[in-house]
């Protein structure tokens, strides 16, 4: 089971602009991390996804939450029992390109 989680985390971490990725269980406990991300983020990440689930409880497809701070983004998505948290950081070059 851990191997599959590791594989998924590696796939996420290999994506462009990804700094770190984490998977948390229903209790907010960290199942695994990859890259530069604090495992303690699992608790707050889970709490955020649970809070957003209250917004549209009848919606069967879980929402994707994205928090923006400058060139950094924190993406959170809950899928059943598991919550994923991804930290992303835009490279300086792409930031200037995007603003043009």
């Amino acid at each position: 089971m851990e191997q599959q989680l590791e594989k998924v985390l590696s796939e996420i971490a290999a994506r462009q602009e990804t700094v770190g990725a984490l998977l948390a269980n229903r209790q907010g406990l960290c199942l695994g991390t990859k890259g530069d991300i604090d495992p303690n983020v699992s608790g707050i990440g889970m709490a955020i996804s649970e809070q957003v689930a209250k917004l549209e409880p009848n919606n069967t497809v879980p929402a994707t939450i994205c928090l923006y701070s400058g060139n950094k983004r924190c993406v959170i998505q809950k899928d059943g029992e598991i919550t994923g948290v991804i930290f992303k950081q835009q490279a300086a070059a792409s930031v200037t390109a995007a603003s043009n």
């Binding site: 996420i12 604090d38 809070q51 994707t64 928090l67 701070s69 950094k72 993406v75």
Partner: protein
């Protein structure tokens, strides 16, 4: 029929809250929606401290909540919290504003995480 405030094109509802969560203005699908306002205030309290080493506390300037057909965009300006519910369908949104670039990045994020968590 009362004319509703248009914050962005493709908007289907909006809420403007005070810092304490009190609803100042609302319209569309979010008209008088205090329940959603409370859920979002709870979310804002949670997002104040994610990870100090990655994002400084209270530095989060914008939040999007992305569903299949629509998304919510939340930001703070002039001590007011603006929550806009925006449709993703293209009808009515012929003129693209600055919000288009941000919504594009949301789609990318959604497909990114959707693919890996599916």
């Amino acid at each position: 029929m009362d004319r509703e405030k248009l914050i962005v094109s493709n908007q289907i509802g909006y809420l403007i809250l005070k810092e304490d969560g009190a609803v100042l203005e609302s319209g569309g699908e979010l008209k008088n929606d205090e329940r959603s306002a409370n859920v979002i205030m709870g979310l804002l309290n949670l997002t104040e401290s994610i990870d100090e080493s990655f994002m400084p506390n209270s530095s989060c300037e914008r939040i999007t909540i992305d569903y299949e057909q629509h998304y919510y965009s939340i930001c703070m300006s002039n001590r007011r919290i603006y929550i806009v519910k925006i449709s993703k369908s293209q009808n009515g949104g012929a003129t693209t504003t600055t919000s288009s670039s941000s919504s594009n990045s949301v789609y990318n994020d959604a497909s990114d995480s959707g693919a890996v968590l599916a």
